[in-house]
Symmetry: C2
Subunit: 355 residues, 2 copies
DNA sequence: CTGAAAGCGCTAACAG
DNA sequence: CTGTTAGCGCTTTCAG
């Protein structure tokens, strides 16, 4: 099987010339166009009226020189970087990838750039990133931070706009876009009850996340409202990951082999749980139904496809970006937005026949 | 089912105070510390020797004021933004998400920021992004661009470092990090042949991508070397997406229901193809084996788990970022790096028993 | 070891 | 409609 991998590493130099050509400046453009620097600036920004004659010559010069305004210089002078930062725990997580895409889509359409930062759940990295963003962006979007709110509070206090997304952050003066996590838990419970299960289990998210607690509360409350309760040994917490879900499902199976419904606080856990369940010989949904929360796109690809209470991650991101840009660009008040959630029913809770 | 979605939208204002506090400047720090601006600058950068006394006072002042150097001003003066741009077709695609994570990890460790841009395969957006990055970043990493190379060439010519990643770009003076796509195709073929299939099919990527063509060539060549060939009706191209794979698999099934091995030019297609195959009543791998290329993490989660020739997307990104930062930070020559690929065998090509 | 002064490339008054 | 003039906040000579 050793022929099954290519050789170590190939490398070759591509060009022989250093070509330390520096970008053209606005002054060069002005000189070539035979106008003043400010006319170039105005022509390019369309800020003040410039004669057709002049702007044509400017355009020509810009084109000939391949001129691009220097964002840094502009930012220094105009006191706006036209950039926002986005801090997520892990950009590979499909939920945050979707959020990031939403952020980026509206930022792009509004002419803002976005810095991406993945903390990988490392507090030191998070602190470092936040620090850096404070110096490079006009505002930052913080998703599910694990660190202490102090640093974020200091950012807000020193004039950097902050919008929290997904998970609340204890900071005054920050905006926020969240989903109705309690409702998500309730909806999941209601849907599960519809299938008349006898033995329900619950896989929660990390205890330190308020969103995880809210989902649990919603789920529990709805169950109790229906006169059902959850024995403690069928309720446990794990990471918001596929592995976390696998592990939790195995635990549940060990303490109650006859479980026939499992609620997961997020989709990744649900994917892992469903997999573990199948590997333990259970049919999903015939023997056990599984439901998650989040609404990641991979939910329709897994086997079976995953029923989920979607939080519309793309919209979470786009709404958050819109709010942040309003705050930073138009001086809008920070506010809090709670987005609705909705059930997306797929195979993992499908009634298989006459049950 | 209407109770299965939360109310429209909730919103409330979070703070009543505008608090237009502007960030502290280096001058304020200097004043508070009782030293000059340049001493503050030097103390902070550790560039020139500063007495312990002074730097202590500076540190204190920085802390008290919550001072953060303004990146834009620094960039304007020092002529380095310490930022790179990353342009990908779609940041939600797990392959590019992984690449992005690799890029970001090394950028972060080297003290560079990264701008993320998803073109969504829209040439206008790509052009817009590239343009913007030219003004905001010191260099840009371009993954699988669809647009014309002219713009990228102009960027290089005007002093913006460029590194292509994954897909080559016809530009002189750009660096590049690629994987050995031909080898990937060959390895896939060799592995498939190991299973002694009778009717092999091939799902290629978009014809306009050189990587797609190379994978096809590698696959074909290896087949021919083994004295096998592929009837044209069992070879077709589709998008590098799950849907593309689904569609292609359906086509193949229609023209040859007895196909028992399908090679896909990327993992997303393979996931889609496997799904379509199963939905058409075929067992994977018992009836048909499926193999992809890329090595996305979701390959181990799908049912069955996916055999793939991995290109190690994370490393592709980290290597590309390292090269770009060397070019832009240390004036390194642009060069071309070709990374090895390797077979990762999973269930989708597993021999089920004695076959 | 420190400070004064000169800009980075750009925008934004302000006069013409 | 246009040009001149001050800076943005920072780094970086250059003298002390």
């Amino acid at each position: 099987m050793e022929s099954m991998s290519t050789d170590r590493y190939i490398e070759r130099v591509t060009s022989r010339e250093a070509a330390v050509r520096r970008p053209a400046t606005i002054r060069e453009v002005a000189a070539l166009a035979g106008v003043s620097v400010s006319t170039v600036s105005n022509a390019l920004a369309g800020r003040r009226s410039v004669s057709g004659e002049s702007s044509a010559r400017v355009r020509a010069a810009v084109h000939r020189l391949g001129y691009r305004p220097d964002g840094a210089a502009r930012a220094a002078r105009a006191q706006t970087r036209q950039a926002i930062g986005l801090v997520v725990p892990d950009s590979r997580n499909p939920f945050f990838a979707e959020v990031a895409h939403g952020v980026e889509a509206v930022a792009q359409s509004l002419g803002w750039a976005v810095f991406l930062a993945s903390t990988d759940l490392d507090e030191a990295r998070e602190a470092d990133y936040l620090d850096r963003m404070a110096g490079a962006a006009d505002g930052v979007l913080v998703c599910s931070t694990s660190g202490s709110p102090d640093q974020v509070q200091r950012m807000v206090d020193s004039g950097i706009a902050v919008v929290a997304c997904d998970e609340r952050v204890a900071v005054t003066g920050a905006g926020g876009v969240f989903s109705d996590d309690t409702a998500a838990g309730r909806i999941a419970a209601r849907h599960i009850l519809t299938r008349a299960p006898r033995r329900i289990a619950m896989i929660c998210g990390p205890e330190h996340l308020a969103t995880a607690r809210a989902r649990r509360t919603g789920f529990r409350d709805e169950l109790q409202a229906a006169g059902r309760s959850l024995p403690p040994w069928r309720s446990l917490a794990s990471d918001y990951t596929i592995d976390g879900g696998r592990w939790a499902a195995d635990q549940i199976l060990a303490s109650d082999p006859r479980v026939d419904a499992v609620f997961c606080a997020n989709d990744l856990q649900a994917v892992g749980a469903a997999q573990a369940l199948r590997q333990a010989g259970r049919q999903v949904p015939a023997d056990v139904i599984v439901i998650g929360i989040d609404g990641i796109a991979w939910g329709e690809v897994t086997e079976p496809s995953l029923t989920s209470v979607t939080r519309d991650p793309h919209r979470l991101g786009s709404e958050a970006a819109r709010l942040l840009i309003q705050m930073v660009g138009e001086g809008a008040q920070p506010r809090e937005i709670v987005l609705p959630v909705a059930l997306v029913e797929r195979d993992s809770t499908r009634r298989s026949g006459g049950d």
